[in-house]
């Protein structure tokens, strides 16, 4: 079965600085998707960024980018120019042939 590990329960960053959230996963599948979701206190799960495994190019969405290392099974999220609105729980998720599998999440605090 696939597993997703987020080793940082909590992270903090100063406003306007850059922070990287870590995620590793384990799978025997060759074709899959990886996602980062943001969950603010409102509880809404918001898709931040997605990556398809066969694409070597790292995905980028405005201030959010990933470092996808397929061989290492690593999928980290970099947030540049952090804003107060970025404060939330961030979940890494794996989507393959079966169900979506989530990591335990990283709570990001943004300090003004």
């Amino acid at each position: 079965a696939q597993t997703v590990t987020q080793s940082q329960p909590e992270m903090s960053v100063q406003e306007a600085e850059t922070v990287t959230l870590s995620c590793t996963y384990d799978t025997s599948e060759s074709d899959y998707y990886l996602f980062w979701y943001k969950q603010p206190p409102s509880r809404q799960m918001i898709l931040v960024i997605r990556q398809e495994a066969y694409k070597q190019q790292n995905a980028t969405e405005n201030r959010f980018s990933v470092n996808f290392q397929k061989a290492a099974k690593s999928f980290s999220l970099k947030i540049s120019d952090s804003q107060l609105g970025d404060a939330a729980m961030y979940f890494c998720a794996y989507g393959g042939s079966e169900k979506l599998v989530f990591g335990k999440g990283t709570k990001l605090t943004v300090n003004p």
Binding site: Y33, R43, L47, G95, L100, F102
Partner: protein
């Protein structure tokens, strides 16, 4: 991407009672999913609901406790039955999205359930 309306957004219920949570999608979707998120925890899949067939439950979840309906391609309900304080959680529905799994799963806004 689809928009999912979930209600109620929160409820406080007496133990032993049942609560039905509804999710309405603004487009037709094949698969819908129900998750439980216990306090401070990640999301755990309860079941997958396809229109016209019985829901498929994950290990540790049973139909008698969490009956699911999927009457059409835009609607689903999850009932939490015979509730106990251990059922206090956030419950979320999601869909795979009409464009396919790669484009991400859309989630409802969640139902915060407190059982007293």
């Amino acid at each position: 991407s689809a928009v999912i309306s979930q209600k109620p957004s929160r409820d406080i219920c007496q133990r032993g009672t049942s609560l039905t949570i509804q999710c309405q999608v603004d487009s037709q979707v094949t698969m819908m999913f129900w998750y439980r998120q216990q306090p401070g925890q990640s999301l755990t899949l309860i079941a997958t609901a396809n229109q016209g067939s019985e829901a498929t439950y994950e290990s540790g979840f049973v139909i008698d406790k969490f009956p699911i309906s999927r009457p059409n391609l835009t609607f689903s309900t999850l009932t939490v039955s015979n509730m106990s304080p251990e059922d206090s959680s956030i419950y979320l529905c999601s869909d795979e999205g009409a464009e396919g799994a790669f484009y991400g799963y859309t989630f409802g806004s969640g139902t915060r359930l407190t059982v007293v």
